[in-house]
């Protein structure tokens, strides 16, 4: 799980072009969307695509997205439970 979390941190920084953020700046319990990283709904969709490509995780509705993308911790748990491959 720890490995997955640090992997996801790096992927978030790379996928979303967070040039002024390092993976270490992302706190697992912080609100992911609308939180300190300044992420919004388009970033969520970009992460949806990344999760589908890299982990085989499909998130295709808003309600599920809101739960999964609440925090990095919730995201990692969902990927851990539903993902079919590492990257």
């Amino acid at each position: 799980m720890e490995k997955l979390i640090s992997e996801l941190k790096q992927k978030i920084v790379d996928t979303l072009g967070l040039m002024d953020v390092t993976p270490g700046d992302i706190n697992e319990q912080d609100q992911l969307i609308g939180g300190p990283l300044g992420l919004d709904s388009i970033d969520v969709l970009e992460m949806v695509m990344m999760l589908e490509n890299d982990y085989g995780v499909v998130i295709d509705n808003k309600e599920l997205g809101e739960t999964v993308f609440a925090t990095l911790d919730s995201l990692a748990r969902y990927v851990n439970d539903h993902g079919n491959r590492g990257s």
């Binding site: 979303l16 072009g17 967070l18 040039m19 002024d20 300044g38 919004d40 709904s41 388009i42 970033d43 969709l45 970009e46 949806v48 695509m49 589908e52 490509n53 295709d60 808003k62």
Partner: protein, 727 residues
């Protein structure tokens, strides 16, 4: 009441059918035209239905061009008038063809010659014999109504008597997968305003209206007003309370000189997405209060044909007025209690006098128009009476601030190099752009948007206390990085999905949406495009709108160089030569402000290779009779792809002007990119303020302008002239 323009003839093609008659019949039957796309492969069997034009469409030219040609052909069959100008909204242009070419790794620029959005308007102009300006508006889904609003101003200002205006777009992978990636496509087909709606249906089509100033024999209706606004809120989501939509509607009604009570029908944008329909319902409810007229969106029937949406809906609005029909909101069945908004579910036949038609798009762009019945008059009193042969002049615009970005650096470095006779060619390092902006702001932007935003920030620095409300910018090729990255990822992933961030950033108007957010500019926000005359198109548009708005504007032009796409799209870009990009921005205010340098658009016409240079220049001389006393120098832009023709014209200039006026070929300095004229305009303004221009033939020496102006000439596919005069 403000005068309008008569609609003399109309052409339409959409998922609902071809021509006004079959469209009217389909509307009466409340048909839906949504089907599965069949002319390119979608590797997702479950891909939702789209608003595809059925039947065989020729493929001599890209599909968008062919759809526009069909609509234009309908107009030509009704009316033989040759328009003075063509104004089209287009967002995909030759994209469908381009996708296939890129997939096949083709590199021959000749194969991509119809990729540019502007080539649709140029092709239609050629088809109908128009030799005046062909302006292309790329404000995403608001493009069609924006084009119609500009066309109306062209007629009101007397710049044109007849304008062919509208919009066209074809389905392509970019729009199908782009909207899919945003999860805003309804698998069941668009159900605008329905409680269970879950998105739009991507579509295609074309709508054209022939607008005339003088009353024709049997006018269909009138285009009587237009209103433009920008949310300045988010790149792809509307303002949650529909503030920008409200402003555009209110402006359109005011422009048409009518009150909300006088509207009989609202043709809603109603895409079927949760956010659009909610924002639009709120804005409409606020504007119309308790007296909302009948309203419906036809996008459950046609799908959402992007730039063609406004134009197709304008044609249908004119049918509503001329045939007395209120179209039904196809797909709607369950009212949404959150919206307090119930559209007309099925068609109603009843008299309709005035229609308000809405369109909203990415970048927070909003455009609404008013279509009215034709008053029972026998003369052209509704339109401004322009005396025969006396073309009204577009007024000067005063320069309050300016900035440029070139290979030499930002404004100060560029001007320094210019006066030293050094090259400005090259590409400014990305680090300089991001240092000017904040990393948080630019993280989702690639080079084109960063260039535009940097220009706006730089130009805004020296105009304290003035906030431009309108932003009008030209670009030859738009967001090349996002386009390339989106398609590369799509192809790499077996055409299943691609990046939503790249899709939102790929639209030509994404950059000006960011500029509007940065400056809080909620007025008109217009992106024009058309190869080497893209900046001139922006300047002309600004000139026309300034006569109406009388407010400060930012007028810009920029292009990014992209190593994979620039040489394919822009025939002036040759691999091996110095890769160049950049742009310029000017803060302008209408009228001549004492002490301020002015810019005045003077000539915009097709540069026909078949017309001998001296004859082509005769038109210029007619327009500018005082050339010898008025200008101290000419700055000419000769795109490399038009070098032979451009040089012939430049060589013929001294003879035409009967003087040895110094000519500076500015592309030798700026390098080759479509919006080099925006840089040239900034250089010219600074040169006027210094009363001297570097001597192109003697580095380090200067031409004394002797308090005269500079004539900026564009010698590409269009012959353009802009004068820059001392204040």
């Amino acid at each position: 009441m403000t005068c309008g323009a008569y609609i003399a003839a109309m052409g339409i093609i959409s998922a609902l059918g071809t021509g006004t008659d079959s469209t009217f019949q389909a509307l009466k039957r409340c048909e839906s035209g949504l089907v599965s796309v069949d002319f390119f492969q979608l590797n997702r069997p479950e891909f939702p239905k789209v608003g595809m034009v059925r039947g065989t469409i020729k493929n001599t030219l890209p599909r968008t061009h062919e759809l526009a040609r069909i609509a234009a052909g309908q107009i030509m069959a009704q009316c033989s008038l040759v328009p003075d100008a063509v104004v089209l909204g287009v967002t995909t242009g030759g994209m469908l063809t381009c996708e296939s070419l890129l997939k096949a790794k083709e590199t021959d620029p000749a194969l991509f010659q119809y990729h540019g959005l502007g080539t649709v308007a140029e092709d239609i102009a050629e088809l109908v014999g128009c030799t005046g300006p062909a302006i292309t508006v790329a404000t995403a889904c608001a493009s069609g109504n924006t084009a119609l609003t500009i066309a109306l101003e062209m007629i009101r200002s007397g710049q044109a008597q007849t304008v062919l205006a509208g919009g066209a777009d074809a389905l392509c992978r970019m729009t199908c997968f782009g909207f899919q990636s945003l999860q805003v496509v309804d698998p069941a087909g668009a159900r605008p305003f329905d409680q269970n709606r879950s998105g739009m249906s991507v579509a295609e089509g074309a709508g054209l209206l022939l607008l005339v100033s003088q009353r024709p024999e049997n006018p269909v209706a009138q285009l009587s007003g237009g209103g433009l606004s920008c949310d300045a809120f988010h790149a792809s989501s509307p303002h949650p309370e529909g503030n920008g939509a409200f402003d555009a509607m209110a402006k359109a009604l005011d422009d048409a000189g009518i009150t909300p009570e006088q509207v009989d029908y609202i043709s809603l944008h109603g895409t079927g997405t949760e956010a659009n329909d909610k924002a639009e319902a709120m804005a409409v409810n606020r504007l119309f209060n308790r007296n909302r007229p009948a309203a419906s969106s036809i996008k459950g029937a046609t799908g959402h044909p992007m730039a063609a949406a406004g134009a197709i809906e304008a044609v249908i609005s004119a049918l509503a007025v001329s045939k007395g029909i209120i179209p039904g909101n196809t797909g709607f069945s369950t009212p949404d209690p959150e919206l307090n908004f119930i559209p007309v579910p099925g068609p109603i036949q009843k008299p309709v006098h005035r229609v308000l038609s809405n369109t909203f798009g990415f970048g927070g762009n909003n455009a609404a128009i008013v279509i009215s019945e034709t008053q029972n008059r026998t003369s052209g009193a509704w339109a401004r009476d322009v005396k025969g042969g006396q073309e009204p002049k577009m007024g000067p615009m005063s320069v309050l601030g300016y900035a440029c970005v070139t290979g030499a650096g930002t404004t100060a470095e560029s001007l320094d190099a210019f006066y030293k006779g050094q090259s400005l060619a090259g590409m400014i390092p990305d680090k300089i752009l991001t240092d000017l902006l904040s990393l948080k702001k630019v993280r989702r932007m690639k080079r084109f948007s960063r260039l535009m935003l940097a220009l706006a920030v730089l130009a805004g620095k020296n105009i304290s206390g003035i906030s431009p409300a309108s932003i009008i910018g030209g670009t030859g090729w738009g967001s090349l990085s996002e386009t390339w990255d989106f398609l590369s990822r799509l192809f790499a992933g077996n055409e299943m999905s691609s990046s939503p961030i790249d899709f939102v950033g790929s639209v030509h108007n994404a950059a000006l949406g960011h500029v509007a957010m940065e400056l809080g500019a909620k007025g008109a926000n217009i992106t024009t495009t058309g190869g080497d005359a893209s900046f001139e198109q922006a300047l002309w548009t600004a000139g026309m709108l300034s006569q109406k708005d009388h407010a400060p504007m930012m007028v810009m032009g920029a292009d990014e160089h992209h190593k994979d796409l620039s040489f394919r799209f822009d025939m002036s870009v040759v691999p091996g030569n110095t890769a160049s990009d950049g742009g310029g921005a000017l803060v302008l205010v209408p009228g001549a402000v004492p002490g301020k340098t002015t810019l005045t658009p003077r000539l915009f016409m097709k540069n026909d290779n078949n017309v001998p240079p001296q004859d082509a220049l005769a038109g210029l001389i007619r327009e500018l009779p005082e050339v010898n006393d008025r200008y101290g120098a000419v700055m000419a832009g000769i795109p490399r792809a038009c070098a032979v023709r451009g040089k012939a014209l430049a060589d013929a200039l001294p003879h035409a002007f009967s003087s040895s006026i110094p000519i500076l070929d500015y592309r030798c300095l700026t390098g080759q990119f479509a919006t080099a004229p925006a840089v040239a305009a900034v250089l010219a303004v600074d040169a006027i303020e210094n009363n001297r221009l570097p001597d192109p033939h003697a580095p380090g020496q200067y031409i004394d302008l002797q308090d005269r102006g500079i004539l900026l000439l564009g010698l590409g596919r269009y012959l353009t002239a802009v004068e820059v005069m001392p204040g």
